[in-house]
Amino acid sequence: MNFIALKMLIGDRAKYLGIIFGLAFASLLITQQMAIFLGLMTRTYGFLTDTPQPDIWVVDPKVQYIDDLKPLRETDVLRVRGVEGVAWAVRLYKGLLKARLPNGTFQNCIVVGLDDETLIGGPPVILEGELSNLRHNDAIIVDNVGADGKLANVTPDGRRIPLRIGDTMELNDHRAIVAGICRVTRTFQSQPVVYTTYSRATVFAPRERKLMSFVLVKANPGYDLSELCQRIRKTTGLAAYTKDEIKTITVRYYMKYTGIPVNFGITVILGFIVGVAIAGQTFYNFTQDNIRYFGTLKAMGASDFMLLKMVLLQAAMVGGIGYGMGVGAASTFSFLSGRTELSFCMPWQLLVASAVAIALICIISSFLSMWRIVKLEPAIVFKT
């Protein structure tokens, strides 16, 4: 009977392709939008991903997410170092500074100031130069996307000349020399990232009483991180988070206070509805067009269960193909957009979620057809 079900389905080529197209479109829309959403969310804590050395991030108690910069006092790093269980604690500066480009335009950059002695918190991948180059006068390391894009020198004839080692630029009216090119996780606002030492960053930054953004902490081996966080909070009065905790509060902040999840959620729901509407209607029409043949099979002795299995098999087949095509198209899109500003993150959990959505569409779509078949009187076969 499976054979008959599949031949009936494929035999009506227009509807067969129509259902597959509907499901593929829904699958593409759902997968792609969720992947972009996840991509954007991972960008919100990209800085954390790029800074793997510390176990604990110490921040001002009022900080709501990683980019919510509320400076600490310089002495706070010393207080944290005094907490039992802390192996080391270093300063980190993070701020948004204006870079003046050779053609006179300005560009906001994320400037990260690393502990002068250890350079902990540096970029994950150095493409050109070395991290230790930061010890040179006025040295900075620029991320490759920024160097090739927003920080590139644009000539009068429109040519874009990327920043290279040895090039100079101005950061907040201070001379900076490019001493390396690195690769970092794209930032949420897609701004260039500039690394330098802590002391130089505080020179670049506008004068303020407090400038230190974070204290990065490494726990002694064997210490429970949650307990250490508690101890730091108790001892210093500052907020201390493990990496996972600060990632969570960052994502939660963006989920709660920005319209991003709602916007993407609406598109995903629309994809689902479009899938149900196109695939469901076409699938029901397919069943309706073949109702006489289902009736004939029923009259000849096919049980309701047998016919329902046929319908489910047909739904599973179009669902499988449609899902595969949609996910394939989304993956191709992801591959092609890999070098653009678009964020795209497609973990296996997303593929499972998309498969569940398509399965739901197929179940909803085939439900009406199954109902029609269960209610079908086999005597229909004698009607002309």
Binding site: I4, M300, A302, P378, A379
Partner: protein, 242 residues
């Protein structure tokens, strides 16, 4: 006197009403009919006389409202839907006016459908269907789709589908009405030759007086009643004249 064990189908006081209230239609108003094994019984009568309703009830695809109806000793009203489907898959073959062949299946696949419903493996079912198609003269068209066959050939495929699983009851609804006279005659000849058997009964609903000659007996229906049962179309004509 008819021996009871020679009776294949026995209907007593069968009634069927469609709709209710002002739209109520009495399709059958107490049908008494017996069909013997080995017989080709024709049901004739004007449109709306209840012929199709009667074969639907006999074939177990429609519930009766009242009366009794036994097919080879079994009563469909005493079975649940699963048992009924199983009984039909083993004992009933169908020939339809509009063929009802699945367009996407070849002649052999269409003819093999009752065997696949009974759970036979596809290869085995197709082999048996090809044998039967050969018997009905379509051995060379087993791979043809319905759209590639003529009306007569389509009805042969339907006959092959109706007999492939050796059912004991074959019901035919206007098997020749979509065919020209010559093709219709040939189809009836074929049906007569391949379908009639000692332990089998054929019930044919028809308007087509040109095929009456193939009937063992003819039951004439009108307004939900069996008006008369005669042994040949000559008797029917004679009674009409009287």
């Amino acid at each position: 006197m008819i021996e009871m064990n020679n009776i294949a189908v026995r209907c007593e006081g069968v009634t069927k009403t469609y709709g209710s209230g002002s739209t109520e239609v009495h399709a059958l108003r107490g049908i008494d009919l017996e069909v013997r094994k080995g017989e080709l019984m024709m049901l004739v009568g004007p449109s709306g006389s209840g012929k199709t309703t009667l074969i639907s009830i006999i074939a177990g695809v429609l519930d009766r409202d009242g009366g009794e109806c036994e097919v080879f000793g079994s009563d469909f009203n005493e079975m649940n839907s699963r048992e009924r489907a199983l009984y039909r898959s083993q004992n009933v073959g169908f020939v339809f006016q509009l063929f009802n062949l699945i367009p996407a299946l070849t002649a052999a696949e269409n003819a093999a459908a009752p065997l696949m419903i009974r759970g036979l493996k596809r290869r085995e079912a197709l082999d048996r269907a090809c044998e039967v198609l050969d018997r009905v003269g379509l051995g060379d068209r087993t791979r043809s789709l319905p759209s590639e066959l003529s009306g007569g050939q389509l009805q042969r495929v339907v006959i092959a589908r109706a007999i492939v699983h050796n059912p004991r009851l074959i019901v035919c609804d206007e098997p020749t009405s979509a065919l020209d006279h010559e093709t219709g005659h040939k189809v009836m000849e074929l049906l007569h030759n391949v379908a009639i058997g000692i332990d089998r009964v054929l019930i044919v609903v028809t308007h087509d007086a040109r095929i009456f000659e193939f009937a063992s007996r003819i039951a004439s229906m009108d307004d939900g009643h069996i008006m008369q049962v005669v042994n040949s179309h000559h008797d029917l004509e004679q009674k009409k004249e009287n």
